[in-house]
């Protein structure tokens, strides 16, 4: 488990964070937000071709990263994430500079070697399965890591899979519901829908026959819940409860988090500041201020420090080498010319 999680495991579900915990979560949320802002700035300055990310999901994704059982293999949690998951990554301890590297598609990008878009994480050492652009396929793939961890195997980890609201219209979402809930063959799998009420330009309303996506889990006999994903304490508690259930019962759970989309869908839609959306960071700042956990000035100075740090990092990344053309041939197969039986 990550260091940050040690700090927080003592929080009672649905309870308030302690001062120390608040500072930790705030710092991660702020760092995530500023990282996304730096990525958008890089895009706007021509230091990257495309941006997509998670401004508006920090209050949910940071607790997820804190609570995940980090490590490699079936005794740790597999994470099949969405492309708005920088909060989860940073909470698990990722270095923000690596996101800048992927944005700038330099050779040192550890997630894809300059091949993939920003936000498309991959980290085997932490069981972070590659984020793939095709929507919802992670729900069909997650059943496989979950099977490797099913009851009776002795595996301690579980599988966590996350996607957006619009994506639940794909058959893959149903695949995850069907396969995870087979009677006698249940899978230890937390399914998360981060509902920002949009798929690119298309509003949730008019595309779905239910009020809440999580209702779809009910017919399958699995527990479901909806949480205000703009509230880090509520999110933390809901996640802790869901994770506890899945870890213990080794059965599926469907959690829907209502979140915001603060910079629109992606750079393709401008990445401009959205109107009429709750800003979880602002809200948490108000809370911390009103609880006298932090002052405005402290917040400002934290913001300034991280901003400077990221700017500096992005300057550094700008000078890193692009991948060489010939590297396109790397990693097609694990062997250049593998012949069966030569183990």
């Amino acid at each position: 488990m990550s260091l940050s999680s040690a700090v927080l495991t003592s929080v009672p579900p649905a309870g308030r964070f302690s001062a120390e915990q608040s500072l930790k979560v705030y710092d991660l949320m702020l760092r995530t937000r500023l990282l996304e802002e730096r990525l958008i700035a890089m895009y706007k300055q021509g230091d990257g071709y495309f941006w997509i990310g998670g401004p508006g999901e920090e209050a949910f994704n940071v607790p997820l990263g804190i609570l995940a059982n980090k490590g490699e293999g079936v005794d740790h949690d597999y994470l099949h994430l969405h492309y708005r998951s920088s909060g989860t990554l940073l909470a698990m301890g990722a270095d923000p500079v690596d996101s800048l590297r992927q944005m700038k598609n330099v050779a040192s990008d550890p997630y894809s070697k300059g091949r993939n878009f920003a936000g498309h994480f991959s980290k085997r050492a932490w069981n972070i399965v590659p984020v793939s652009s095709p929507i919802e396929v992670q729900f069909s793939i997650a059943i496989g890591t979950a099977r490797a961890q099913r009851a009776g195997t002795g595996a301690k980890g579980i599988t966590i899979v996350q996607g957006g609201d619009a994506g639940t219209a794909e058959g893959d979402f149903a695949t995850a519901l069907v396969w995870s809930s087979r009677k006698g063959n249940e899978l230890p799998m937390l399914m998360i829908v981060t509902n920002n009420r949009f798929g690119i330009s298309t509003p949730f309303a008019g595309q779905h026959g239910y009020e809440q996506v999580s209702d779809r889990g009910k017919a399958f006999g699995m527990p479901t819940a909806v949480v205000d994903g703009n509230d880090p304490e509520a999110s933390y508690a809901a996640l802790a409860k869901a994770l506890e259930y899945v870890r213990t019962e080794r059965k599926p759970y469907l959690l829907e988090a209502m979140v915001s989309r603060l910079r629109g869908h992606s750079s393709a839609s401008g990445a401009n500041v959205a109107k009429n959306e709750v800003d979880c960071l602002e809200r948490f700042e108000h809370t911390l201020e009103s609880r006298a956990v932090m002052t405005r000035a402290q917040m400002e100075s934290r913001r300034a420090a991280i901003t400077a740090e990221l700017l500096e990092a992005s300057r550094h990344v700008r000078d890193e080498a692009p991948p060489a053309p010939g590297t396109i041939w790397d990693y097609v197969f694990t062997d250049k010319n593998h012949v069966g039986g030569e183990r």
Partner: protein, 353 residues
């Protein structure tokens, strides 16, 4: 003068006002966005679907069976690969039912590289599409061809796939090669049919008095006449090949560039005529090179015109790797570029039998 995406939009407008198109749909195809490339802005029958490509293709088949005339969009062809079974059904229903049910639908989807689209916005679909019997497949390289091929696709009583070369969608057409009925001035056209930025709720397009134009499916276009080497290509690689040809003209190499326009049925007569004239063939496309449509063309040319060939026919295509990388270096090394086309033509021209 218009862009290809405007030409597509105008064709769809003609489709829904004159040719019986009842439904234009796909992800983000309806208001407010009108398509991620703006192709469906201001169309009265355009609507947004759930995010489910299988549903989109199924919906199109069902509408076609019910006698409607649907035009379905897959937002990027990269996301059509979970629907191949349904595309096969669209292509085999007429045959399987012994001529009982035809399936008159159009699927349009942006294809290819050239916009730094990384692994999932750079795929090609031409090789896949040509593997699905029962479909007609077209791919324009100019706005005018886009307009005329899309109208032919809509009028056709069979399933037709309209592949949109995404790197060319926003390129402006040459003067004179324009859409019948559309204003020549591109600013005037934009002011009439492009949705404004920001709030669009009050906006309606002001369509020009468009005339019907049908580019026949199955007929190629000789984009440049020449005698030294034949280039068989389509979509994004047509303008690239033309640039290469112009550069080579200075070196005394006279290239014939054939824009196939239709991949199925393709214009075998045009190919035969050109190969008999030049005796040298280069096929250029962006799809991965193993089991590639250009290989079909070469196979048939070799089988039927072996003794006409003064050089081994060549294929220039995407390399056979699992994706197209985001970094410039990677994308450029993965799909044909103008310099590579030029070198391949020159090599063929210089070849001594």
């Amino acid at each position: 003068m218009s862009t290809m995406i405007q030409a597509i939009r105008m064709a769809l407008h003609v489709g829904e006002t004159k040719l019986g198109v009842t439904d234009i749909f796909g992800e983000d195809v309806g208001p407010p966005l009108g398509g991620v490339f703006t192709g469906t802005q201001g169309l009265k029958t355009a609507w947004n679907t759930p995010l489910d490509e299988r549903g989109i293709i199924g919906m199109a088949i069902g509408l076609a069976l019910a006698g409607q005339k649907p035009v379905a969009e897959i937002q990027f062809c990269d996301y059509a690969f979970n629907t191949i079974d349904l595309l096969k059904i669209a292509g085999n229903t007429y045959w399987s039912s012994g001529g009982d049910w035809n399936v008159p639908l159009v699927v349009m989807t942006p294809v290819g590289a050239g916009i730094r689209g990384s692994i999932y916005h750079s795929h090609s679909f031409d090789a896949m599409a040509t593997r699905i019997p029962g479909w007609k497949i077209v791919m324009p390289s100019t706005p005018r061809d886009a307009y005329g091929l899309l109208l032919s696709a809509i009028a056709d009583p069979n399933p037709v796939m309209f592949l949109m070369p995404k790197a060319l969608l926003r390129v402006k057409d040459k003067v004179g090669d324009d859409i019948p009925g559309a204003p020549n001035d591109d600013r005037v056209l934009a002011s009439m049919i492009d949705a404004p930025l920001g709030d669009r709720t009050q906006w309606t397009p002001n369509w020009p008095p468009l005339e019907e134009l049908y580019i026949p499916i199955g007929k190629a276009r000789i984009a440049r006449e020449g005698t030294s080497v034949t280039v068989l290509t389509y979509g994004r690689n047509v303008p690239m090949s033309l640039v290469a040809a112009e550069e080579l003209a200075a070196e005394g190499i006279d290239t014939e560039v054939i824009d196939l326009r239709s991949l199925h049925p393709y214009d075998w007569d045009a190919i035969v005529a050109s190969v008999r004239k030049t005796n040298r063939v280069l096929c250029v496309n962006e799809d991965t090179e193993i089991t590639n449509f250009g290989e079909h063309l070469i196979r048939r040319i070799v089988e039927e015109l072996f003794y006409e060939l003064h050089a081994p026919p060549k294929l220039l295509a995407g390399v056979h790797i699992p994706g197209i990388g985001l970094a410039d270096n990677l994308e450029m090394a993965s799909v044909p570029q103008t310099a590579g086309i030029k070198a391949a033509i020159a090599e063929l021209a210089a070849h001594q039998p």
